[in-house]
Symmetry: C2
């Protein structure tokens, strides 16, 4: 338990807390080999809040995001859902989804439908799309019905690979591979 200088210790302390905000002062004191008072002083000097406040901040962080995602409207009608396996959703392209000039559906609606479906498959309270590899095959026009079919193709811990194919009648207009993360 060699004791490096004050500034070094404080740097260590912030790094420890950055890596793991769940550490109590007591645990930090043990790790750093100093008294709990020193830890508290250091935290005060670095203006790092106490454990509970840190947790609250982290929790509020996710909560804000989750709420903002919840607000985002659900795109498409869910017509079949086998949680954890597959699902089907239908989107009828309405005027407000299209670009006025071309009467072509804005791509993000098509994407959003697929994304919503992909996320919905995951059997968890909150799921977020981490990355997605998608392609638009042809434009979709106002009035067309887009049928999206999705299934979970792989899973590794809390990561899911969901594949989605969207069709208008028999024509595939969109395909996507979504990497979705499950939270909680």
């Amino acid at each position: 338990m060699t004791r490096p200088g004050k500034s070094k210790r404080q740097e260590l302390l912030s790094r420890y807390l950055e890596g793991n905000p769940f550490l109590t002062d007591d645990e930090l004191a043990h790790i750093l080999g100093v008294s709990i008072q020193t830890v508290r002083l250091d935290r005060w000097r670095l203006s790092i809040p106490e454990l509970r406040e840190r947790l609250k901040e982290v929790a509020q962080g996710i909560y804000g995001q989750v709420k903002s995602l919840e607000k985002d409207e659900w795109i498409g009608k869910l017509i079949d859902l086998e949680l954890g396996r597959s699902g089907v959703s239908i989107l009828e392209v309405s005027e407000e989804m299209t670009l006025k000039r071309t009467r072509v559906a804005r791509g993000d609606y098509i994407f959003a439908q697929a994304n919503c479906l992909a996320v919905a498959l995951i059997d968890t309270k909150v799921a977020l799309t981490g990355t997605a590899r998608i392609s638009f095959r042809r434009p979709v026009y106002c009035g067309e019905k887009v049928v999206a079919r999705a299934f979970i193709s792989r899973r590794k811990e809390n990561k899911y690979v969901v594949r989605v194919a969207s069709k208008v009648q028999d024509e595939t207009i969109f395909q996507g591979k979504f990497l979705v993360f499950a939270i909680a």
Copy 2:
């Protein structure tokens, strides 16, 4: 402050907590118009943990996800970054990024490069891609250098629209519009 029955109150209680896990027993007691003891009894009967445990759970939830994202390797070399505005990254396509048969780079590497860059632009600790609208213009071959340029094109609260264009020499091989969420 009319008092509905016990089961009704308990249902209310769980719903309140589902909507806002940050409520203390005291606040719940006021909301429900009963004593704090009743709230605690109800929580116990519904096996809902105390505030601090709830926060910890939420915090651990996000933390798991953030860590899993952090683990995901950074794709591309960041060669220029103006935080909150724009950035440039270069990816040299190596053998392990390509499909053996075709020597074509796997699309997700191209996507990942753009996605990493998009997320890096955001001036916050943690940023997650919510949705993305992307297109691959032509295959990229082993040995080619992909230069991705990104800029923030819109912002609304914690949501950012980041546009990314990736080129090999003068040819655009990828374009993407990312909706990125800032956390905390």
